[in-house]
């Protein structure tokens, strides 16, 4: 039974002459002794014959000269640019042909975007300049200091705020004033 399955799977290839000589001999030998597989062969050949007959008869109905004149007319006429563009787009953007392009384009876009993000972050705030920059400060009359430290890329805004209850500065610096 298993042989019959394999033979019937190979019947098409055998009838088409596409099997290797070894496989072909094996199929032929099996068909010689198996009625079921010979019946499968008959059905396959009949389908092929009927379809060929139907299509071939129609093909013979096509007269050459009217066909050729129609082709000549197409060659002679100038098509509007939008028709040319539509035909080009239909041919280029049809599903099987863009199947490869879509994932490739997505992959390329992701790579481009990642590279761009990497370089822009590097450019914007990487090795050369990743400081926080201060556009404006308003301390409402209190003293404020702005420190930028290169080695650690630190931006510090320090508000010199009086301790609660104190209205005048003292000689000693308040606890809140850092040494930097």
């Amino acid at each position: 039974m298993k042989d019959c399955e394999r033979v019937q799977e190979s019947l098409g290839g055998w009838l088409d002459g596409e099997l290797s000589s070894t496989d072909s001999d094996w199929v032929r030998a099996h068909l010689g002794g198996c009625g079921d597989c010979r019946e499968a062969q008959r059905r396959l050949e009949k389908i092929t014959l009927v379809l060929h007959g139907a299509l071939a008869s129609e093909g013979r109905n096509i007269e050459f000269l009217p066909f050729w004149h129609a082709v000549e007319r197409r060659i002679a006429e100038k098509r509007p640019w939008h028709v040319e563009l539509r035909d080009w787009a239909r041919g280029t953007f049809s599903a099987p042909r863009i199947a490869w392009a879509v994932p490739a384009a997505i992959a390329a876009a992701i790579v481009l975007f990642s590279v761009n993000s990497y370089f822009s972050s590097w450019r914007g705030s990487g090795a050369r300049n990743n400081f926080t920059s201060v556009d404006s400060i308003d301390a409402y009359g209190q003293n404020v200091a702005l420190l930028r430290e290169d080695d650690t890329k630190t931006t510090l805004i320090w508000l010199y705020q009086n301790q609660e209850g104190e209205n005048e500065t003292t000689e000693e610096p308040p606890q809140s004033a850092p040494a930097f």
């Binding site: 290839g13 499968a40 396959l44 009949k46 379809l51 007959g53 299509l55 197409r74």
Partner: protein, 184 residues
């Protein structure tokens, strides 16, 4: 002595329209048969076949002979037919003559030496079954049936491997046999 396809192509590329006419003469029936097998409608098939040769004329300057001419022309034909079929599916049916009606015609069929077409029902159901196949499966069946092209040539036309051609043919034939089992 008859010129080869390639010699005719070279003459076309040099501007000889008569050479292109010879090529059309050689292949117009076969191209039409392939397209008719893919589209149900005779008028549509005729139009697509004419468009195939028009496109071939436009592109023949770029044909380098990397494949055979017939592989190249069939590729154009099949692609146009598949595109037309997809457009057909989106558009409402019209009432032009379709292939069912064509196959009703008995005269040609009776004289056809190949056609074992005594069974009208088998023909009608075969065409319906073919039309239920996907465009890719239909293409392999039609190319193999009409032209007896090798799997390699069919693969070159459809842009797929021989293995894919074999598996599509197997699938298509199995589908047809399943649907037509009572008629065979």
């Amino acid at each position: 002595m008859e010129l080869t396809d390639w010699e005719l192509v070279r003459k076309c590329q040099a501007g000889e329209m008569s050479a292109f006419q010879d090529l059309v003469s050689r292949y117009h029936q076969k191209v039409f048969m392939v397209i008719l097998g893919l589209l149900r409608n005779r008028d549509d098939a005729l139009e697509v076949a004419q468009e195939t040769f028009f496109r071939a004329y436009r592109k023949i300057g770029g044909f380098q002979g990397g494949s055979s001419f017939y592989t190249w022309i069939y590729r154009i034909a099949v692609n146009l037919a598949i595109d037309a079929q997809r457009r057909q599916k989106r558009n409402p049916l019209d009432f032009r003559e379709n292939m069912d009606g064509v196959l009703e015609s008995q005269d040609e069929v009776a004289r056809d030496p190949f056609a074992d077409v005594h069974d009208k029902e088998l023909r009608e159901n075969l065409i319906k079954a073919i039309n239920d196949l996907t465009p890719e499966h239909k293409a392999v069946i039609v190319l193999r049936t009409i032209e007896g092209l090798s799997y390699k040539d069919i693969g070159a036309i459809l842009g797929c491997s021989e293995g894919t051609v074999m598996s599509r043919l197997h699938y298509a034939r199995k589908k047809l046999q399943d649907k037509l089992s009572s008629f065979l």
